[in-house]
Amino acid sequence: MENLYSLAAHRLKELMVKGEAAPSAILDQVFSRIEKFDPKIKAFVLANKEKAKRSVNNPTKLKGKLAGIPVLMKDNICVKDEVTTCASRILAGFKPPYDATVVKKLEEEGAVLIGKANMDEFAFGSSCETSCYGPTKNPWDITRIPGGSSGGSAAAVSADETILALGSDTGGSIRQPAALCGVVGLKPTYGRVSRYGLIAFASSLDQIGPITKDTEDAALLLSVIAGYDEMDSTSVDLPVPDYTKALSKDVKGLRIGVPKEYFIEGLDKEIEAGVKAAIELLRSLGAKVHKISLPHTEYAVGTYYIVATAEASSNLARFDGVQYAFRAGNSRDMIDMYIKTRSQGFGDEAKRRILLGTYCLSTGYYDAYYLKAQKVRTKIREDFDKAFKECDCIITPTSPTPAFKIGEKMNDPLSMYLSDIYTIPANLAGLPAMSIPCGFSKSGLPIGMQILAKAFDEETIFRAAYTFEQYTEFHTKKPKL
């Protein structure tokens, strides 16, 4: 018999229905994986075995679409009375007095929360190296980064230390680590999933989404967490389809757009080859492939680093030592307390982004930066509107390179920022986008491809991805630990 920990949630559900797997056995296996491998991978910042066991032993809780399925939360999602830190010293020991809406929804469907995943501090990064807890390792090569910022979530799914995970994606933070760790990661349409309880990085870009072992699980998990929430004005009041119904094995007539601006210098040759081969496979299955143009792509990274840091500088202003979590000692007065708390509490990348954002919003610079960036953002959105008149989905690489070495880009923020060059446009345009495994480099590192669709058309993404999975085995490969 297969090991339960290695199975996708939809497979475990089948086994549970047949009586061939029990929630307690699944949980025990998952925790034995965590205990065995997490000291090496460091995907978890909190593994809450006792609480998880209590949930599994409480039959009234084990009801619903995710009954008995272990789920890992990124450490920026609030779980009531459980330490939630965004991997930042400034939130050391912070226990939210409330549950994020996604947490409530998961628990209503019987999911078993097993802990908190490591991440870049406040989701500022593409490598998990800016975490105050130290970096998570890529299960495929522990000298490499798992991607970020949801690196802990992706690494844990990849290493079979959890069945499902939630991440958050502001500029690629779900998709890039999913690609680098060889798993599936979906950023839903902006407004599809409530952000209530997600500690904000950039409010107009952030979105919570699934990181899973395959597409079917992503559809299952999205069906549970999606939906309008009266606590989040930016969530959209549209009915939530059962996304698992969109998993057809058929791409006949599906119009796939391939943007020429994404296959440029700087893109790793093996990744280019892998993604192109994937597109060819879909074409051979009946999809129609079009070359398209997204002419404002080159401005996306610059635009993103203005909008995202501007919002972040304001969102992070509340961490001042007054009400909760970390407060520096030995302060002379109020201003001194602010300065010391924030100087000691934030890491370098957080400080860099707060300074950038503050600068962009300052009198005299606002028009040149923030306002201009908003205009470019509109242009980027219009590029996609135009493109989706010619195609149903767009396929691109997820990341320009496979997982890089730990430390490789830490002193080169610009090159680090370019890791998200392919994922950022979907956030700026508010579109759904998913990364799925589509190959391996010669050195054995996973390669991901990104599928984008129109706003609120996650179903088309699932259709393309699921079909691809039926004809390939990349998503079934496991790292040797």
Binding site: F94, Y196, G197, S233, T234, S313, A317, Q323, T363
Partner: protein, 479 residues
């Protein structure tokens, strides 16, 4: 020759809206509760929490804007005003910057020369209130109470259209009157539900360019606003007369010392880094919704005053006074339903009753004298059962002891003797006793009548109807 200066004043009023819950969360807005007992993750700005606009607060805001004759913005958008202070839990305030929810309105006041003067309203916008810092005496720490944090505020900003502290005072009085009519706020300056800052500058008469502006804060009453502005006018004039230069600054009014003092200069002003609030989606206001709100507008002071003049024959002045406060106007109208002589009711209200209300610094409804009770008193005067002078005394006692005037009259046996027979009896007795005065009178000394009236009044213990006493005396003396 000394230069004459013109004063230019603009006012900013912050108004707490009397909604049941806060601007962006469901917490109660009750005043005076235990510190930090009306808070939640949203108004405490906890990480991960998000604001959701309170529809009632929005409707109150639109209602106010309409009553102030403002235009309503088509797209409603909120912005963040970023600054650090411990009473501001997110270290930014949700406000409205470049697109206030309404703009271009006006309020008319009666100017010094009696003419109507129009004060233009530049903008009315919504924002959230901050908490309150408490500094315990003699301690080296401060406390924060977040109960007020996140309460809905309206900021009402005028153009610099007022030319004297008195006009500023009149504008505030009129504005408060309108707001009370709308019942959108309790407008209580002591509780902080209405706060006022002023911008004031002076310029030589005839000069077109505005002078250097001073922002004046910390006035705790309308009288304080007036006094602070009066002080500023004098100070600014004397600086210019001494060939000095005014600087753009914020000054605080010290009511105790009666002076203003500099708080910060323009150079120290903060950069608030306004930008659109990404957690609240901009929305278009439905025109029908606005019309529905417009239909809920009550009759406003000016319309009511016009109606009072027409319906009750009041003078412009009397109608203005009676409609200056909604409670007073309602009280008056209640009286007119029970009593036909509206002018008499108006005179009593504007005289002794308003004096009592003002002396106690209360609202007319807190006086403990129902309109029916006042009307009862007026009817006793009309029927002659008490005199006008007596009525004043009874009214004073009724207010003092919070009792019904009719009960006071009954209890103290104050009802006037207006019965002809009883008075004739007393007169007969007095005339028998006071033969000397009777003879004096008959001998042509007419002043003796006064003495005799006095004796009758004395014998009746002051209760005899003096008009009747006069008549009966004269008749008995053979006139």
């Amino acid at each position: 020759m000394s230069v004459k200066y013109e004063t230019v004043i603009g006012l900013e009023v912050h108004l707490q809206l009397a909604t049941n819950t806060k601007a962006f969360c469901g917490c109660s807005t009750k005043f005076g509760s235990r510190p930090n007992s009306q808070v939640c993750p949203v108004c405490l700005g906890f990480p991960g929490s998000l604001p959701v606009l309170n529809e009632e607060a929005f409707r109150f805001a639109i209602k106010t804007a309409l009553a102030l004759n403002c235009r309503i913005q088509e797209l409603i958008k909120f912005d963040r005003k970023n600054y650090y202070y411990p009473d501001l839990p997110k270290n930014f305030q949700i406000s409205q910057y470049d697109m206030p929810l309404s703009y271009n309105g006006f309020v008319d006041i009666a100017a010094a020369d009696g003419r109507r003067k129009r004060i233009k309203i530049k903008r009315v916008h919504m924002e959230e209130d901050a908490g309150k810092l408490i500094h315990p005496k003699g301690e080296n720490y401060s406390l924060v109470d977040y109960n007020r944090g996140g309460m809905p505020l309206l900021e009402i900003v005028t153009e610099p259209d007022m030319n004297s502290p008195q006009e500023a005072y009149d504008y505030l009085t009129k504005l408060k009157s309108i707001l009370e009519y709308l019942k959108v706020s309790d407008c209580d300056m002591e509780k902080g539900s209405l706060r006022c800052d002023a911008n004031i500058s002076i310029r030589p008469e005839g000069e077109k360019k505005l002078g250097t502006k001073v922002e004046l804060k910390n006035m705790n009453s309308f009288k304080g606003v007036k006094a602070g502005l009066e002080y500023e006018v004098k100070r600014q004039v004397s600086v210019l007369e001494d060939k000095g230069k005014l600087i753009q600054e914020t000054r605080l009014w010290d009511a105790e010392k009666g002076v203003t003092a500099s708080m910060r200069t323009k150079e120290e002003a903060e950069d608030y880094r306004y930008f659109p609030e990404p957690d609240l989606v901009p929305f278009v206001v439905d025109k029908n919704e606005i019309e529905k709100i417009r239909e809920t507008l009550p009759e406003l002071p000016e319309a009511k005053a016009g109606r009072f003049q027409k319906e009750f024959g009041l003078s412009d002045y009397d109608a203005g006074v009676l409609t200056s406060q909604i409670d007073l106007a309602d009280y008056f109208e209640e009286c007119t339903k029970l009593y036909p002589d509206a002018k008499a009711a108006a005179n009593w209200l504007m005289g002794d009753i308003m004096a009592a209300v003002n002396a106690r610094n209360i609202n007319i409804n807190e006086l403990g004298l129902a309109p029916a009770a006042l009307v009862g008193l007026l009817k006793m005067v009309d029927s002659g059962s008490i005199s006008g002078t007596m009525a004043k005394e009874v009214l004073a006692e009724a207010i003092e002891t919070r009792s019904n005037p009719e009960d006071i009259v009954k209890k103290n046996g104050l009802a006037q003797i207006s019965d002809k027979g009883s008075i004739e009896e007393i007169v007969k007795n007095v005339l028998q006793k006071e033969t000397k005065s009777v003879n004096d009178y008959k001998g042509g000394k007419k002043t003796a009548l006064g003495f005799l009236v006095g004796q009758v009044m004395k014998a009746s213990k002051g209760k005899a109807n003096p008009v009747m006493v006069n008549e009966i005396l004269k008749k008995s003396l053979g006139e």
